[in-house]
Amino acid sequence: MTNPTTISNAQWQGVNNLLDAYIKVTANDHLIIAFANDSTTAAAWILSALDDRGISRSAVPMRPLVDPSFSARLSGAVQSALALKPAARMVVVTLERDTMSHSAAILDGVKGLRPKDCLLVRCISVCADLFALALSVLPEELSAINAFLLNRLIHAKSIRVVTQSGSDIKVQLNSDKYRWISNRGKVPEGGFMIIPAGEVATYPSQIDGRFVADFAFNVNTFVDIDCRFPATPVTVEIKNGKAVSYFCEDKKIESLLSGCFKFENGRNVGEIGFGTNRGIINGTALNSHINERRLGIHLGFGDHNQYDLVDYKCRIHLDLIARGAKIWIDDDLQPIDLDNLSVGSEPHPDNTLHQDAFEFNELGEGQHCCGAQSMLPVKNMG
């Protein structure tokens, strides 16, 4: 993404899908594009598309993770826009490739706006593939697939998951206690939209078996290696919710696993997730949420996605991702085959979380949460 003039038709379509299908821009909107240095080109694409449409916009640069001045810059942009366009819906779009930063500052920047008057869109893993692949699929399709899976999984007591790579795991679910996340490019008023979209996930109350990840990993650290497993899958033996052994022919990957599993609680399986974005086929080398959106199963080792409902913490969260999956629910004889999904137009459950990479309580202090009824967001999940 170093030369903006080389943008492909697919990438440009992704830019327009983001604006039209995800954000649903109108002439009444004002968009603030906050961008890290690694996402400058993507910011230019989006701003140019807005200029084409004659929609008012601002650009706010940000340093990733540490930027004491960002809050003031963002607040200033919001106030300037409101001075010129008092009735505008304020849409804040953040763009970052390697990080996810400034959550509190972003909320502070829109403080005082009514939820219906603002939309917060956090684009992470920003790269060419985000636009060409992840954003090629529209929220309606993601929502239909998520609804199909959730309407079955939320009521399941146990599932068996088998993959072509050789995984065979048994999982007990407890949706009365643990929350389901549904990331689908749609959020209620006042919510954060996380891009890339396309996943359902929860916490496995029990999990055992062999998991063979043949697609990629995604970890909440900075890494400088190709995150895909094109020829050297990772095999993890899981007993009683913990990784008890692991193997990968690629010794760099095996060293990475070893390093992650050394952390306290790093071997715990804190998440079972299913990617639901058909646009992602071959994945990207980037350490990226894009890969775990692929149709398939991923297990998150280390930190969990349940905020205070699970009584351990871990600084690391390592997602291992497998292509496709067949899911047997309870005593059903026919599995759900993620590689051959045929979904209708079922209503999406309204009691799921809507994001998987977030870390604070957007509803404010004092909100109670319990199982699938909760709307509390969770942290650092892939």
């Binding site: 903006p4 003039t5 943008i7 038709n9 697919a10 440009w12 379509q13 327009n16 604006l19 039209d20 961008f35 890290a36 240095n37 400058t40 080109t41 910011a43 230019a44 694409w45 701003l47 140019s48 598309a49 200029d51 084409d52 449409r53 650009a59 640069p61 940000m62 340093r63 990733p64 993770l65 540490v66 930027d67 810059r73 390697d98 990080t99 996810m100 930063s101 400034h102 959550s103 509190a104 970890v219 909440n220 650290t221 900075f222 890494v223 400088d224 010794k251 760099k252 060293s255 990475l256 070893s258 390093g259 992650c260 350490n287 600084r315 690391i316 990479a357 870390e359 942290k379 650092n380």
Partner: protein
């Protein structure tokens, strides 16, 4: 919106990119991630390969 770029749109992107580079320079936001991690105080020890070369470092999210 059409999904193919016109030459005018390509020119527009180049102009906007220049605009962004100027405001980044003014705000001082072009900085290396390792520098930021050091400012922040890296809270995760490097994960190294068998030869001791770093594979992973820092936490990439707000903490």
């Amino acid at each position: 919106m059409p999904n193919t770029l016109t030459s005018a749109q390509t020119d527009s992107i180049a102009d906007v990119l220049k605009e962004l580079q100027d405001i980044q320079f003014e705000a001082g936001t072009t900085v290396d991630l390792r520098t930021i991690a050091e400012e922040r105080g890296i809270d995760l020890g490097d994960i190294n390969d068998e030869q001791g070369n770093p594979l992973a470092w820092g936490i990439s999210y707000d903490t």
